[in-house]
Amino acid sequence: MTERIKVENLYKIFGKNPKSVLKKLKQGMTKDEILQKTGHAVGVNNVSFNVHEGEIFVIMGLSGSGKSTLIRCLNLLHKPTAGNIFVDGDNIVTYDKQQLRKFRQEKIAMVFQHFGLFSHRTVLENVEYGLEIKNVPREERRKIAKQTLATVGLESWGDNMPHQLSGGMQQRVGLARALANDPDILLMDEPFSALDPLIRREMQLELLDIQSKLKKIIIFITHDVNEAFKIGDRVAVMKDGKIVQVGTPEEILTNPTNEYIKDFIKDIDRSKILQAKHVMIKPLALASLKNGPKVAMKEMEENGISSLFVVDKDRKLQGIITIDDTVKAIKENKPLKDIMKQDYSTTSPETYVQDLIPKASEAKYPIAVVDDTNKLLGVVVRVSVLSGLI
């Protein structure tokens, strides 16, 4: 994975004399102290991260945590107080006006929370705007704008004015306007927050769909955890201007590094993000085909369980035995093979917990997690799926 954006020790302080405040901040004063003593607002406080080729990088955090400030530093709508931002190796912070305009025209585009559409221009003219700024000839930019409008499903709306469209459609125009420029990087500041939940879900899917074709670098801001984990390849959690954790949704969910993040993800609907591999546990015990029922019995008694999965020497899953059958087998001196049953369910490690719910509610035994070669990787205990106590 090539690294395309690299942000190093970025600071943004709002106020009359940010440089002097920067010193105090570095000396360890907190954001609140600085606001009280100096009247400066700390937007971004020593933030570093990388973004890779083709990645959707989500920045999430509560209101006022500095998300908008951070994303606006990336196209220099806010000039950072200190720090570096490398895009393909170039430090954009040092750009002069001319270089900056070229960078914005060619490499990066932004989608806004309240769409930021030009109300005096038609939908098509809005989409054309970026190309017009670049002096693309009229005919050509018309053509590109129409094509882009079609990719967001609004080909027949070009001649309308923005106010004639619904919120969801307006944001599609915002997205088309950004895409028409064919930027490498797409910045999206809470693009779906102003939309109602149904439209929002639709837009999320559409974005993922578009991304699977275009493979841009997307930096996406949200304060909605579900949205962050649904869309993000990696997620950065911000608090008080700092990034407190970066990782894949799974990493953050399974290993939240502090209370703030735990709080944050409390209200998330985990079943939609977690997969079988994240919630499976190692079986407490296994029976091997070469062992007899007595050994199996002992294992069950020792671990206080009423069934055992049976595997061969390569750990390939063969079947399951219950404690009742094992007792009989010992009496009648039968091998394990004869009492083995096949009425358990299996799942792949990538199956979402959500999709395990129907299986789990019917199953008599834990669900076996197996790979393509039927090797037993672990078991998912019914109760953890059903109660959501993962």
């Binding site: 914005r104 806004f112 769409f115 700024i133 306007r177």
Partner: protein, 283 residues
């Protein structure tokens, strides 16, 4: 009776007079150039307006009123103009129109750029605001003094005074309109790498247009309000008719001229307001 002590005196006016004299001495050619420019423009406008046959003007106003407002408005405006003609004041009305039009055009040429600069600079705004307040509370007669000093008598000082009197609304509203352009829209424009000029011409001015047009309407109305006063320095037109009527206590003539001014003002107001409404952008 209490009297203010005579020994406490400060003859401020002397210094102002000095400055004005100094200006006249040193910038005579400048004032001459301004006079020539204004005169040249006025003559063109006046010639054009006098050249158009009267009935075409009436039909034109009828059509404008109809298209911009509605049919009865068009008929009313046309009728008003016709009555002015019946009063025998057509020629004077055209002169007044040329004066107003010239002043308004100059006001816009000066006012819109100043308004834009004010929107860009907080410092200029805090300097201009009290100045504009002062200009608007100052009795309009006062503007005649520098006008006459710089340009002597005639139509040019009348236009000068009218322009100064009527320019504040368009400055004020241009400033307000540019400052009120939606922040996110501006961010969007910047995020595409627009140059300052592109931002101004492609986003700010189109967005500000409805409000600027309201400013144009107000400026025009203020210019109309100046016509009688402007005639005191020698401008011909409906204003001078009123002035003459006052001097002669000629009620009939004064009434006809006064009514004509009111008619013209109403027509201009409604039509420019209608045009301003056309520019309004639905949100």
């Amino acid at each position: 009776m209490s009297e203010f002590p005579e020994y406490l005196s400060f003859k401020f006016g002397i210094y102002v007079a000095d400055i004005v004299n100094w200006l006249i001495d040193n910038f005579e050619s400048f004032f001459d150039a301004v006079r020539d420019l204004i005169l040249w423009f006025l003559l063109k406008v006046d010639f054009a307006l006098h050249w158009i046959p009267w009935w075409i003007i009436i039909v034109g106003v009828f059509l404008l009123g109809w298209r911009i407002k509605k049919l009865p408005s068009g008929i009313t405006y046309a009728l008003m103009l016709f009555i002015v003609g019946l009063f025998g004041l057509w020629d004077q009305m055209i002169s007044t129109l040329s004066l107003v039009l010239t002043s308004v055009v100059i006001s816009l040429i000066i006012g819109i750029p100043i308004g834009i600069l004010m929107a860009y600079s907080n410092r200029l705004e805090s300097f201009m605001k009290p100045l504009l307040d002062g200009m608007q509370t100052m009795p309009s007669f006062v503007y005649l003094i520098p006008a006459v000093i710089f340009f002597s008598l005639g139509t040019v000082p009348a236009i000068f005074a009218t322009t100064i009197y009527s320019v504040p609304p368009v400055i004020r509203l241009t400033n307000l309109a540019i400052r009120n352009v939606d922040k996110e829209m501006l961010e969007a424009a910047h995020s595409f790498g627009s140059s300052p000029w592109q931002i101004l011409t492609k986003v700010e001015i189109p967005q500000a247009m409805p409000t600027i047009m309201t400013g144009v309407n107000q400026t025009t109305m203020m210019a109309m309000a100046m016509v009688v006063i402007a005639s005191m320095v020698g401008a011909k037109g409906l204003g001078s008719e009123v002035l003459i009527a006052i001097n002669r206590i000629d009620i009939a003539r004064g009434f006809e001229a006064g009514l004509s001014i009111v008619f013209v003002a109403i027509i201009i107001d409604r039509i420019t307001q209608g045009i301003a409404d056309r520019f309004r952008i639905p949100e």
